[in-house]
Amino acid sequence: MSVHYGDPQIAIGVVFAVLALVLAVAFLVIGVQAGSEASDERVHRVGYWLRKRWLALLLVIGVLVVGISLFDLPYASGGPSGRTVVKVTGGQFFWSLAPDRVPVGTRIRFDVTSIDVNHGFGLYDPRGHLIGSVQAMPGYHNKLDLSLNQAGVYRIRCLELCGLNHSTMQSTFTVTRP
């Protein structure tokens, strides 16, 4: 479990921390100023002026981030088209991957399913960083397209509560050097 420079999670964490801090400070300042008196007229003037801009800011940010996110959806579509299909089957409490190793740089399609309950296919790179996850559902095949460019032993952990040994349901996936 780790993150390293360049991993997206770092940016996510930093953005959250900054926003949380800004909000905390804002609430602190307003809380302190709550003790003093401001006329209703002044509150309305400042408040409504600010609110218009606040709404505009939120709308702009919202539309931007949602729009950008639509370009990076993880949903695979279409046929395998040259990808190596790795069949992943989850069950209580094991993972079976076929094949369980590929050469580095292979374009992979993980075809993930479950034979009993919902599991979560969580893929961690050799440094312990979570690349991402996809659900393993009984009766359905979820397809995740990835290219793993780092050689080494990847770890799979279960990311959906599946019973007693949910915490210990692990496996490995090897990306071999060419």
Binding site: Q9, I12, A34, S69, P74, G132, V134, G163
Partner: protein, 683 residues
């Protein structure tokens, strides 16, 4: 020598608030206290369980994974139920002065919810059920030796009871607000928004109506999936579709958790003004914001299913948009307006008002964590890590639970006419904030690192975080202990003053003032009249004609050709059963709405309510292969079974006509929807 009697200025609330604060009646205080104390007791016990879990993860306590997951399940279900109870009571307390809500319904709701909670406690602690409060199917049926089959049934039955209790509550709220303010569109403030009217219902009424509608939807969905799963526990050949089941489960779970926050917000709209001394009134922006929330609360649920790639992409994108849409009314209307009220108001800092204000910050910060995770590419990396745990605990501990305590504190402060010491308050808030944000902050950090959630055994190398989290949890526990200790003297003072109110007499000539005690109840404001029958679902000849047409068209579900064609798959056959049910419902609505029959049936709202809840539930419970496969061999018995479906529908439809115009229609619609959702899920 005449004396004038006035209520002495409140020692607790803002001086200017007296102009718009209503006196609380005995019934409001009692129900508020009942729900607040029961709910908070449940929350506190669940909190201890949470502490035990965190200590287990830190390997300070050596609880087995089996017990960990039992506690996890109980903690989730119990917390949601607890906060729901308190916020239901809080909304009742602020709404009842203007809307004639029925105490009988409220108490019925209470009994159902407490009974359901008891079932969940037994299923988890005694039966070992440990599938999480979200019981994601098919996990409940794969115990892997952890729990017994009966615990599955008891858990589902318990949740069904809680769900029924919430249904009863929402139905009463919706019925009474729409009757009081004249129809659904007017109650939501939309006529006011369009400029057709000068006044709109007060903020808490609009909020209550929106919550009630989404609450009823959520209840219906919960009913459909829970009865299906309950059927599966005693008939293993009943199969269900994992994706549809997931959709139903997350719609229900997401809505319940969300609605508890919005319920609390409705109470906050009334309580913060009392300490800020500024009234909060409905504006067009407010109405528009809540109209948005009505839609977005219901459509954002698929953000729990982002990582189920087989979910249709339009549903995923729709939920992403809805999740961001939901942010706008919260950030721009609720949180912003409340902060605007507080700013520069000479805010009266009491225990209740401090908790109210701090809760606003909790919702804002938790919300940031939530909307970040609502972006699909980011969710890909954060899904089911502790980031999720962090954000909802921020919402729940540092916003809703604080608001729940604020409600109790307000009740007690008001009755006692005093608040806690400043130092005591400072300590409590500091402990809670440090402990709370430390606990959730650790989880946010672990989420960034990719640590999975719901792990009884933490991954190697993360024990430091678990330990830090446990320490913060202990600090938080101390904070809540301190909070309870602060509330005790308030409770004692309120108890001593329970029989009287203070009245200040001013002698008109000398101006001398003296206080006197007047027995409570003598000068209580008159209770609002509960209106009589608010109409029937099919209210005019045109609608009756539509009902008749519906019955006739629905008869197609009985044709042998249709029945045979529906045998192509179990799902289609269940849909056919839903068709039979639909005919019965339409017939019931039609007959019950006819004036002559409606008069004969008389005013029986409770019987109607029972029918509307029981009939569809029983219908879905018997729709399992174990019952109908033996019948299918005999054409006559098969036809009888279909007729039984229609009879259940008839009972539902007739019952719906006793509820009132709007709630009757909604109840009938939801009953048929439940049958359809059941058909979609159970294959």
């Amino acid at each position: 020598m005449a004396a004038t009697a006035t209520t002495p200025p409140s020692q607790v609330m803002h001086p200017r608030a007296a102009a718009f604060t209503v006196e609380a009646r005995g019934i409001e205080r009692r129900i508020g206290l009942l729900f607040a104390i029961t709910g908070l007791a449940l929350v506190l016990v669940m909190g201890v369980l949470g502490l035990v879990m965190r200590l287990t993860q830190a390997t300070v306590i050596g609880l087995s994974p089996g017990w960990f997951y039992r506690l996890l399940t109980l903690h989730g279900a119990g917390m949601i139920t607890g906060v729901l109870l308190v916020t239901m009571g809080a909304l009742w307390y602020v709404l009842h002065p203007t809307v004639p809500l029925r105490p009988g319904r409220m108490l019925g709701s209470y009994v159902l919810i407490v009974a359901g909670a008891l079932g969940v406690v037994i299923a988890t602690l005694v039966g070992g059920f440990g599938a999480g409060w979200t019981f994601l199917p098919p996990l409940p049926f794969y115990p892997a030796g952890q729990w017994s089959t009966w615990s599955e049934s008891v858990f589902f039955a318990g949740l069904l009871l809680v769900d029924a209790g919430f249904f009863v509550y929402c139905l009463d709220v919706l019925e009474q607000t729409t009757t009081r303010y004249g129809g659904l569109v007017r109650t939501l403030g939309w006529q006011f928004l369009r400029g057709r009217e000068q006044e709109a219902p007060p903020p808490q009424a609009i909020a209550a109506t929106v919550v009630a509608i989404d609450g009823l939807l959520s209840s219906a969905v919960a009913s459909a999936i829970l009865t299906g799963l309950l059927g599966r526990t005693y008939d293993h050949t009943a199969a269900f579709d994992a994706l549809v089941a997931k959709n139903l489960v997350y719609f229900f779970g997401h809505s319940m958790a969300n609605l508890s926050i919005y319920l609390a917000a409705a109470a906050v709209y009334v309580l913060i003004p009392r300490y800020a001394g500024r009234p909060y009134e409905t504006t067009k922006v407010f109405v528009a914001g809540w109209a948005g929330s009505l839609i977005f609360i219901a459509t954002a649920y698929s953000h729990h299913i982002y990582m189920d790639f087989v979910q249709p992409t339009w549903a995923q994108i729709g939920s992403e948009i809805a999740s961001y849409g939901a942010l706008i009314p919260v950030a721009v209307v609720t949180i912003y307006s409340m902060t605007m009220l507080v700013w520069g108001s000479r805010y009266r800092w009491t225990l209740a008002s401090t908790l109210l204000y701090v809760g606003l910050a909790g919702w804002a910060i938790g919300g940031v964590g939530a909307v970040i995770d609502s972006l699909i590419p980011i969710n890909f990396r954060l899904h089911n890590t502790t980031w999720v745990v962090a954000h909802f605990h921020t919402y729940l501990i540092l916003s809703v639970v604080l608001w729940c305590f604020a409600f109790l504190a307000h009740l007690l402060e008001r009755n006692a006419d005093r608040t806690t010491s400043r130092a005591g308050r400072a300590w409590t808030i500091t402990l809670i904030l440090v402990g709370g944000y430390g606990l959730t902050g650790t989880w946010f950090l672990e989420g960034v690192l990719g640590v999975p959630r719901r792990y009884a055994v933490q991954p190697p190398g993360t024990s430091g975080y678990s330990l830090a989290g446990s320490i913060f949890a202990l600090v938080l526990a101390l904070g809540f202990l301190s909070l309870c200790l602060q509330l005790l003297p308030l409770a004692r003072a309120a108890w001593e003053r329970r029989h009287y109110t203070l009245v200040e007499h001013t002698d008109s000539w000398t101006g001398t003032r003296y206080q006197a005690r007047i027995t409570r109840g003598a000068e209580e404001p008159r209770p609002l009249e509960t209106p009589t029958s608010a109409g029937v679902p099919l209210a005019n000849p045109g609608q009756l004609a539509l009902g008749a047409a519906g019955c006739v068209v629905g008869l197609s579900a009985f044709f042998p050709q249709v029945i045979d064609a529906s045998e192509a798959s179990i799902r289609y056959h269940h849909l056919d059963h839903a068709g039979h049910f639909f005919v019965g419902v339409m017939l019931g609505l039609l007959l019950g709405s006819l004036p002559v029959i409606s008069r004969r049936l008389g005013e029986r709202p409770t019987l109607g309510l029972t029918a509307v809840i029981a009939a569809p539930t029983v219908m879905m419970l018997v729709m399992v292969p174990r019952f109908y496969e033996p019948l299918e061999r005999n054409t006559f018995e098969h036809a009888l079974f279909h007729l039984a479906m229609a009879t259940f529908g008839l009972a539902t439809g007739l019952g719906a006509t006793r509820l009132g115009r709007i709630t009757g229609r909604l109840a009938a619609f939801l009953a048929v929807s439940m049958a359809v959702m059941f058909a979609a899920a159970m294959k």
